[in-house]
Symmetry: D3
Subunit: 170 residues, 6 copies
């Protein structure tokens, strides 16, 4: 059984992430989805808790019927970057390939001698999470950038309100 790692912050989980997961699932039998910066929330760039991000992904993948092929593991940042790959490795089952688009993530796994694969993201989806957050806090349409389950969930937890409250912070 081949196991892969997909690393992201998922603030929030959007359609680009979903495409990447579908892509990765074609290459591995099991995919560990690492919810990075797990300790962060209630910030303009990191509005949602790790638990809320787990829920977004879980609900979306449930409709995809792939929950028995994925693991969702929250991992906090660590100040010494040399310890991050070992921290991840201590929290998840063995894996043999890493999917990501973040240059630091790719560099750290590469230096650790682990195979990495850049996900073939469509340009416009590269900064989609930033775009979603901006649209929400400006009160514009954002729902079409995320899976329907995520849009529903964000309304359920009043995610828009939280982002706007935080934005009022100088």
């Amino acid at each position: 059984m081949k196991t892969g790692l997909f690393v992201g912050r998922f603030q929030p989980f959007h359609k680009g992430h979903l495409e990447a997961i579908k892509y990765a699932l074609k290459h591995v039998d099991r995919l560990i989805i690492v919810i990075g910066s797990a300790q962060k929330s209630h910030e303009l760039n990191n509005p949602f808790t790790a638990g809320e991000r787990v829920e977004m992904i879980w609900r979306t993948l449930k409709t995809l019927n792939v929950l028995d092929k994925v693991l969702l593991i929250p991992v906090p940042d660590v100040e010494n970057h040399n310890l991050w790959v070992p921290l991840v490795s201590s929290l998840v089952p063995k894996y043999s390939v890493v999917f990501s688009n973040d240059p630091l993530t790719l560099e750290l796994f590469r230096e650790a001698g682990i195979e990495t694969k850049e996900v073939p993201l469509k340009k416009r989806s590269l900064y989609m999470a930033t775009e979603v957050r901006r649209r929400i806090s400006e009160g514009r349409e954002w729902e079409d950038l995320v899976p329907r389950e995520v849009a529903d969930y964000l309304r359920e937890i009043k995610g828009e309100e939280r982002l706007r409250n935080l934005k009022s912070k100088k």
Copy 2:
């Protein structure tokens, strides 16, 4: 959908844990399994990494065909006990009931106003994890105390050897 929490250290995952999970799954639609003391490993009382414990549970529950109803979330200890329930809650989806047998865990969730349920463990399984570790380090039979998938996995990662190497520490 009713979501529950099952909290344990799983050092290692044994048949008592498996019974408890089956019991909990009768009461909730989805069960979040919190792998506690996630930062610990390579100690006599905590020999296995969180990732190894995740793997033990995943392989066992796969044969049970319930992977689409569970989440496996590693959570580290935190020195200030008042922060532990909030930490858990920030890392997992919303839940409405907690299954455990540990007095401190039960006390902390109770003081936080969350419903708790003591798992009806058979006496002999209460300290089964301790018993498994003792048998391994003394070179006695231990395999019948754990699910078959766990026994296979521990042999695969040379778990017995690690425990014995650590035991040689004065």
Copy 3:
């Protein structure tokens, strides 16, 4: 006895803070003053230690004769914002209302289900601490923005000199 919480960084304690405390003391029998970001000092935006900030407030409130109605409790930041309200609650006596003007503070207490009250600050006092620090580091008049006891104390500990030394940092 009704207990309230007043949360601020007090870098330094100024007349706007003093007005807010007088306002809060009209609504509660006891006021816990939380000195936030207690771990910070010797930075341009956080020049004074928590202990120095405690002293500024203590000396001012002593002349007001309300020391038997207040508690001064330093609380450090915590990276996971979900743990901050529980951390505060573990360090202070029970309270039933929170006074603040900081959007994040208000959001966190509100999500925790605790009553919050925005302090009716006069506009010009909103960023008074920033203004005091700016004036000090530019060598302009600043004493009239803070209670007299604070002005005296800052001269006593050579606060102006520290701020200017730090400012020379590139």
Copy 4:
């Protein structure tokens, strides 16, 4: 104005502590009471939160009418003992003498060149906190070892129940 420091864990605050504070207040104009191990609670040897300990002391000193001469400051432990005295000093106003009976506390302040005074404790009060906890968890009389305000408060927060729940932990 002479300021002193009185360091203790206050698990719980008992009559020996009260005598020590009265003694210290004869030697200084202001006494900073450091609530040590502030991060600990819900353990057999550290059952109460820092906030609960602050409340015990505050209520007792209120009846003594000395609240305008004391400060109650919670300070957590720090793993590197060399950083503890500097940590305390960063969280409290300047002080010139330290009252304590703990050998490590006395050694650390002495090596830092600060005047220390052993409190003339009556023998039997030396381990009074241990004795109170033992009596509570064994269901024996303990109220006469603590100030009346503390006894009332502990009943109010169901302190006895917490200690006994924790004791059931193996």
Copy 5:
């Protein structure tokens, strides 16, 4: 024997640092070189690990034949600036003078009552480390700004490649 402290981040070690060390060695019998921000690496402003920085300095000083007069001690940052001088002092032998050019470092040691000496840096070497990093990431000549041993070492560990990979990070 007079011992001095030389504090820097050495990202990377350049000719200005080397001059400063030669200068300091004229004033003391033994020089402790503190590699600051030891926990940082793989960032644009802190590309190299503490171990890599130790190696750069060690190789350079070896050709100078002064390895028996220096100690190389990595020290991490600490969030509470009041604890940094005590942390350094707990990790190195006793010293009586500190060489540095960083305003915060100088301020902290001065407030601790320790003699400080600003190193007579030639202007152009003040921000030499920044200049080296900029030149590397822009693909320009940088080797003449650092000792030859450092240039060789950075090529050996593919330091240029790492900096450019990190730069691609948005």
Copy 6:
């Protein structure tokens, strides 16, 4: 150039350690001496600061004339054992072999795929550090168990007095 690692706590540095270093220096060109548990001091089992331990070793190796072949690097413990080898590796130059006698240290480096060598300690020197501490705190002869430079230094810093003061702690 072959570089080795020698890992110990050195509480205090004794003749067994010195023999081990001489042994290791026969096998490598450069030896990095890792002062483990660097954050600990002022405890009965860890009485001396990392800086004091650095000084003990430095003075001893100076008389041996090998200071240009060794590096003395303090490394703190880390709660997650999986991060300790990566932490060490981020703080020291590249090494290819590890000398130690501690089972956990040996296990961790072995699992990381690094060559380890058990130091051929004479039996009686295995627990020599424990023995030195016991003798000091009991007021018995201990000087012949440590190099002369260490004995002199411990008297210089009043090490015996510190150990006895700490011992009075219950």
